[in-house]
Symmetry: D2
Subunit: 337 residues, 4 copies
């Protein structure tokens, strides 16, 4: 950590800061600049709260030097992590293609879509049984019945299941049915939930909060890793910006940055990151071109009658086109679909 | 709801939309504009998912007409709600002054601060026993022990207690000790948690998510109200923007807007909304001038040794100055502190 | 335009609104909903100021139906525009590859880079003679001398020149030397400048403001088109968001959306949209995969000694790699580099 | 400046960085941390381009220590600047109350409003003769005729005139008529314009760009100050965020921060910062409570027929109420209206 003193900080103020650093067991490194004195704090600063220095008289601001995450960083593990799921793996040369409806609505709906996406090239099935909905007046998901239907669809198609868990006291239940536990964007900083999935040894798909930074996403991953569960995939699903034409703004930079900063696999979700089905395929191509390890796409055989998120769902034939188009891009970057 | 058709939508496409509206039990209102056909959907649109229309051929976009919240709206309840807490109330002529440390750290710390804020004019005591921390390596709160200390501080000072609950399975526990259940910004869209506090009949202080719109805040309040708990206070605690000089951007417009859109009391949190103690007092004055029903302020007797959020904590004497300064503003707007 | 009345608007208030619409020569279309009356304004609403209705008693809000731009829309011109520049064209099957230094610094620097980018596959040369710099204490560009050097570099390499013009009274001067007039992001809404380039018949590369919406970008293009100059290329160069790891956030959605909303060619600028050279190549691949009509890339042979923007500049050999990698992507989407 | 090296930077890489610092005439200060080497650059870093270091091998990132502005800082001039305008001054104990229409529309309109705002307590008259409009199809201002009408209104009321200048080649013309030159939000980074007004010795009201940080606003002020014109007032007029209920988000934190960071007076513009007239008065109160040196408010006697921005304009009687209400707040903070 670096502590920048105000322009005319007194030597007593500087002395006060350095003696506190000393008392905390860190080494002090003093540097007298042209207009400011700068104090370096030597040691692993991660457990330190910078705020305690910011309140001291004469301190202008503090600056972190080390990234606050450790286990999630590529420094910690230079080679990329590969996470086995079902017969396949996420993070290897072949991209994961996760597809399915936003919500599990009925047995018929789920099985029809599951077979269709399998046919088109999907390698995993997604579907929500517990749904975070912004209105209390809309469909909230089928709950346990939805989980059972997902298990039946896996049985029928062989596709591993990705489904969301929304509360720490439901982790055990969802883990019974799912192959991958999804943490939704609104729960990216639900720490009791992160701790609960950190205690399992199941693959976790951690979605970036719509207004969370890249660093915060990696810190949320760190929570799970620090719990001993190393099976974490990150998911870019768009961030909230001033632009309103699209539901979210796909942060394509973040995909490139995450691959450089972290060893964890990165999944792109072009359905949520655009919110409009006509944009899903071009943005899916972009994600693959940038280097994602997989895609997660909402597919519905009858979006006009979908109970949620129809506007961003592809029909199965459009999903088949997506697979074709992204396959060509994947090959152009040395990967496979 | 309004459905805007594309420029050259065919009559078959229009017919398809209108027959679907009809089938859903709504009335259709067709309007042929200069370049677009517009279809009105007459009826209570709140349970409808606009997305199901957005996927239909020929549809350009859909527009909501009704606000998605109902019980939280001032239309529903024109006079402001007043929520009794302890011997006082929130929403009446006298402002609530909620003060205390970010985290409960020890018996000595809490009692010292509790007495100091009471002395300076606080009407409630805040303090975190369960803390959402972005790093797994920092202090996570004292848990149940913290709740017990808060109860002891209430005993000693007579100040009602505001404290955060982070998971649905902890609501019962926290409710045993607290006078007001706080939902933190990161949990504003934690729906299982909203449903759990909606089942209690305790006052809830709902903080706006740093990434959430005014409408989304009101929808989260709606979740609690729809559960039958009408004791909800809203809290503006700053939003995330491109500006980095301050930790968050105080959305002062939102305070004025919430007072017009909703009957629920609004609390301002200038500590989090600025993130820097030298800005807390001027922004607290602004909040009172705009019309908040109370303030929530972080106070610590020794911020240099605080275990969290020291940089935005006021020392007790600064908090006393805040009370004096905001009192003058409150009087200028016909309220009292 | 749609005018939504408040819940209990009186018939006198409704009558007042409709008589004003009538007086303005538009047709009124009244619709009585479940909780609100809605008034449709039939006719070309583009010259109307919605604000005049928003101040009327009983009005809740107004909603535009027509996009505010016309000449820039794909409705106006369904096939894509192709803009001839030098011997080539922008908007056809072959992508424009615009490369060169941020600033023209010297004859030696410019010629070395010009030859290098030509060699690597560039089809146009970029370079700033007039530079918008956020500090008055840093290099402001060589001005006219820079323009002369650009002309010399065109002579030497055959590459057409793209360079920025910053003030209306400099358009004539820059137009003498340039093949394409660039409007920088900070000037996207400099209307006297847009009007001035609208009076020329030269190709214009219009960069999106870093906090401007897709619609505002198209409205700025509309200014130029309305002046009679149809040679406009749009440029996505990243927007400002809360994310600070990257200098800007590449809005990849916007590229896909602009290709659907408008007939104008779209250029991607991965140098500014990321601000970090290690991210330039993966994001350039993404842009091509999405469907841009060209790329604009900063290249410097010695970025350690560049007078501006070195951090996002590629060395010539990295630019050559970019050309190779994007060529494979271009082929995968049926285009050529 | 601080240069942070990557975790395993080689000594040759470190040596390369330090020798470059040395060659630039700065002193090097090396500090070996737990996981990173940090290099301090001692001297006035303002003319340095950090980017030149960011491209060097082994460099992770660079951090500025000094604020990039100097003349605009309170360090440079600890006491606040007071700027004489007409018979009054901005920055003293009495607040400037600048009011008038968005656009000058006609002689009758302007004189009626000028007399009304004078009556209500305004101390300056605002009105646009040259208008930046986002659509080429809407009213663009009366130009020179508007300036002449403003001069006539000053004659009639004694109120000094604030009006916008949009292009460097129009500064001389506008300066003939105006008392204060306004730089609009969209031109905050129009550097040729900043340089042009920097050459005059007239008061300048510099509006913050809706996408600009506090630091960028101060850097734009620095451009004018560096030109030798010290008569600069800053204006907070709202920033663009994800919130769409209001047109902009009033950054009340910025007002408090600017008063601490800079000696320049700060004006608040609650009309643009909210975009909705029912929010103007509460937000005006907030601005005064925070510590602005003046307010700028749009007033129109007939907003239903205003040619621009009617939705945020107050009628004269509402403006009179604003003056009354803010007077009480001003007194509560030791100022006068």
């Amino acid at each position: 950590m670096i502590i920048v003193m105000r322009a005319h900080a007194s030597s007593a103020q500087i002395e006060h800061v350095t003696s506190r650093i000393d008392a905390l067991g860190f080494e002090v490194h003093l540097s007298q600049g042209a207009e400011r004195t700068i104090i370096g704090v030597i040691g692993d600063e991660r457990p330190l709260d910078r705020a305690m220095f910011e309140v001291m008289d004469g301190v202008e601001r503090t600056i972190s030097i080390l990234p606050p995450y450790k286990l999630a960083s590529r420094e910690w593990r230079p080679e990329g992590s590969v996470i086995p799921v079902g017969d396949g793996a996420v993070g290897g040369p072949r991209l994961a293609m996760i597809a399915g409806p936003c919500s599990v609505e009925s047995r018929g709906q789920l099985l029809e879509i599951a077979h269709a996406v399998k046919e088109a090239g999907a390698t995993m099935l997604r579907g929500g049984a517990f749904k975070p909905r912004s209105s209390p007046y809309t469909f909230q998901g089928l709950g346990v019945e939805g989980l059972e239907l997902l298990a039946e669809a896996r049985e029928a198609t062989g596709l591993p299941i990705v489904t969301e868990v929304m509360a720490p006291d439901k982790v055990e239940l969802v883990a019974e049915f799912a192959d991958v536990l999804q943490i939704g964007a609104r729960n990216m900083q639900n720490y009791p939930l992160l701790q609960a999935v950190g205690k399992t040894r199941m693959p976790v798909l951690l979605k970036r909060g719509m207004m969370s930074t890249i660093e915060e996403l990696l810190m949320s991953a760190e929570y799970i890793l620090a719990g001993g569960n190393y099976q974490v995939m990150l998911c870019e699903r768009g961030i909230r910006t001033f632009e309103t034409y699209t539901r979210n703004t796909t942060d394509i930079n973040a995909i490139a940055a995450l691959k450089q900063l972290s060893h964890l696999p990165v999944i792109g979700d072009p359905s949520h990151s655009t919110g409009k089905w006509p944009l899903v395929i071009p943005v899916a191509r972009a994600m693959v071109a940038t280097g994602v390890d997989g895609l997660m796409v909402e597919v519905h055989h009858d979006p006009e009658h979908a109970l949620s998120d129809g506007a961003q769902s592809l029909k199965p034939e459009r999903f088949a086109a997506l697979v074709q188009e992204t396959r060509r891009i994947a090959e152009a970057v040395g990967r496979a679909v």
